[in-house]
């Protein structure tokens, strides 16, 4: 990894709080969680926290973050709020979506 590829997060040493909304243990939600875990380990190891919210158990929480699709990943910190819908199978898109990579 070259210097130019380094992300803002890595430079600032910020803490990442990520929230993954799922609805039950579906293949899609399991895939999303696995993908997220992998990406975080690769790019922000030690500086991230993942909260998984199962909407089947806490349906009232969907309203707060305006969730209508699952899985949805919400970047709570650092601001601003970002949302990524889907099973996070496209790593590049996830990195762009999380502002780990600048949007092209």
């Amino acid at each position: 990894m070259t210097d130019t590829e380094k992300t803002a997060g890595e430079e600032n040493g910020e803490e990442w709080i990520l929230r993954l909304y799922v609805a039950g243990q579906t293949p899609k939600s399991l895939a999303a969680f696995a993908n997220l875990k992998r990406i975080c380990e690769e790019h922000m190891a030690g500086r991230y926290k993942i909260e998984v919210i199962d909407l089947l158990e806490h349906p009232q929480l969907a309203k707060g973050d305006q969730i209508f699709a699952v899985p949805t990943l919400v970047r709570k910190l650092p601001p601003p709020l970002r949302k990524i819908i889907g099973d996070l199978s496209n790593t590049e898109k996830v990195l762009v979506g999380l502002d780990v990579r600048p949007r092209s």
Partner: protein, 587 residues
């Protein structure tokens, strides 16, 4: 046989329906939206989709005990609350009472990225949570098409929408789903593919700078429904759809009669006036006093204690009151007592349907016995002949069914013949009174005749009428050997006749005087003769007296002579003496 036969009842089970509580819509859909199924409401921006959905929920919560969920994809709950507050609905109150839940689903593409597979389970969970938390029976999704602008993977989205509507059916909630009108398809994103139970189209058209909202039930699976386009109105009480689905000619009639307010006009109608519940038209050229007839009719009705509605398209209420005061009709007490209500609006303000819709709305609210529409021609002017006839048929059907007696005034421009539109309308009218200017001998007079009056004998006479300080007065037209005269000519003719009669009377009087004189002359002569006779009689009497006195003297003399001669009285002498004695006794 005919009468004993019962009307055939449909044996199949009626589709259960959820009443919307929206005036007129339940009549068009024969009971409301299909219960437990989704209904698609399609229309352009500003056509009233959101309001329709909201009214469906509010009426459901307040009137039918069915709590509802409003899922807004566009407006925030705060905006929604504000928007319908002007209609008198307090959404916050409903929310506190757990009768309504508003969920705002914000869909914006700007801060959302899609990667990989997803589904809308979260939306289902949100809806399910909202529905279960208040036990909702109704739900509105306004407008779910916003998802298409928020999500790129339309393949997934379409599959999920299909699943959503099945899920809603499973839930047993009656759903209203709104959608924007599209160019080629009914809705922009083809929602009609998924919702096929009931589709309602809202339209907002502008013809000749006049906007009219219309509603049409495009389809309603498993139920009959009105298929026409029905105009509807959004006003301070919300949506109301022109409720009359032409009721047909099934109204019952009464033979009760009510006064026209003009005594001698009643006399022309068998002496009793109009039938209650009939439709009367007073047609006439400008300045013939049509409104005065309307006001007289209303005045009479108010004096009978009946509620009246007067719709004016030319004058303001104040102006009508003032003008009618000048002919001795005081409407102020009726307005103050609430019996009379005058509604004025400019005909160009709305389209024809809107006017009729507002008329109906007012009539339904106020429940009058008598309605005056002054003038009908102004309404006709803003629509085509065909439209007018259709709308008027509906209006008149409604009025007749409700047994409201209606008087239309109608302006005729041509003196010779009625225009085609006038004719089209006149076939709907029961009693048609024509007012006409009659020009003769350099002046204009007003003549009235009853052109037709269904179901009663009526005078065939043309009457002259005058608008006086005491209202409308009908007078007989002079119709004599010299022709027909009105106005001054009538007066002149009448004066001439009076003069002739006077002359004849004079002559008789003078003859009578002559005869009288003759009589006194005769009597004088009789008197004279009688006096002559009397004097002669007197003479004779005197002569008799004188004679009898002389006789007495003679007798006395004779007796004296006899005494002297000592002579016996002869029998003749005794007789004479007895006769004289008797005569003297009689005296």
């Amino acid at each position: 046989m005919y009468h004993t036969e019962q009307p055939r009842r449909s044996t199949h089970i009626e589709l259960p329906k959820s009443p919307t509580g929206i005036q007129g819509l339940d009549e068009v859909t024969l009971g409301g939206l299909p219960r437990g199924r989704p209904t698609l409401v399609v229309g352009r921006a500003g056509s009233g989709k959101t309001l329709l959905g909201m009214e469906f929920l509010v009426h459901g919560a307040l009137e039918f005990g069915e709590p509802g969920v409003f899922v807004s994809f566009e407006e925030t709950p705060e905006d929604l609350v504000q928007n319908v507050a002007s209609l008198g609905y307090d959404l916050n109150d409903l929310r506190e009472r757990n009768l309504l839940s508003i969920d705002h689903v914000e869909v914006s593409r700007s801060d959302v990225i899609e990667t990989g597979e997803f589904d809308l389970e979260a939306l289902f969970i949100r809806l399910g949570y909202a529905i279960d938390s208040i036990g909702a029976k109704r739900i509105v999704l306004d407008t779910i098409e916003s998802l298409f602008s928020g999500l790129m993977n339309t393949g997934i989205l379409r599959a999920e929408l299909r699943r959503l509507f099945f899920w809603l059916k499973d839930k047993g909630v009656t759903a209203v789903v709104t959608g924007e009108s599209g160019e080629a398809t009914m809705t922009r994103h083809g929602l009609e593919e998924y919702i096929s139970d009931c589709v309602i189209l809202l339209d907002h058209r502008v013809d000749d700078q006049v906007s009219t909202r219309r509603l049409r039930v495009v389809k309603y699976r498993g139920s009959v429904h009105g298929t026409n386009e029905y105009p509807f109105l959004i006003d301070e009480t919300g949506i109301s759809v022109l409720p009359i689905t032409s009721t047909g000619l099934t109204h019952t009639v009464t033979s009760e009669r009510i006064s026209s307010g003009v005594e001698r006009l009643d006399a022309m109608l068998e002496g009793e006036g109009f039938y209650r519940g009939s439709t009367i038209m007073v047609a006439g050229t400008p300045g013939t006093g049509k409104s005065s007839f309307g006001a007289s009719f209303v005045n009479a009705a108010c004096l009978r204690g009946e509620k009246c509605l007067y719709f004016s398209f030319e004058e303001s209420p104040d102006q009508i009151v003032r003008n009618m005061q000048s002919i001795g009709i005081d409407l102020v007490p009726h307005i103050e007592s609430g019996l009379l209500e005058i509604n004025s609006s400019r005909p160009t303000m709305y389209g024809l349907e809107m006017h009729l819709l507002m008329l109906l709305k007012q009539i339904q609210e106020k429940q009058p016995r008598v309605v005056v529409i002054d003038p009908l021609s102004d309404l006709i002017a803003i629509g085509t002949t065909k439209d007018v006839k259709v709308m008027l048929t509906r209006l008149i059907d409604y009025l007749k069914t409700s047994r409201i007696t209606t008087l239309f005034t109608h302006l005729i421009h041509t003196r010779e013949k009625m225009a085609p539109s006038d004719l089209a309308v006149s076939s709907l009218i029961d009693t048609l009174i024509q007012l006409q200017d009659i020009e003769s001998a350099g002046e204009r007079n007003r003549g009235l005749y009853v052109l037709k009056s269904r179901g009663m004998g009526h005078s065939n006479q043309i009457r002259e009428y005058r608008i006086t300080d005491d209202g409308i007065e009908l007078t007989d037209v002079y119709a004599g050997p010299a022709g027909m005269f009105m106005g001054t000519a009538r007066l002149v003719q009448e004066a001439r006749e009076r003069a002739e009669a006077e002359a004849r009377r004079e002559e008789i009087a003078s003859r009578q005087r002559e005869l009288e004189q003759e009589r006194s002359a005769v009597e004088a002569r009789i008197a004279a003769l009688q006096s002559v006779f009397a004097s002669q009689e007197e003479d004779v009497r005197r002569m008799i007296e004188a004679e009898s006195r002389q006789q007495k003297i003679i007798d006395a003399d004779t007796r004296a002579i006899g005494k002297l001669r000592k002579a016996d009285a002869s029998d003749d002498d005794k007789k004479v003496q007895a006769t004289i004695g008797e005569a003297e006794e009689e005296r």
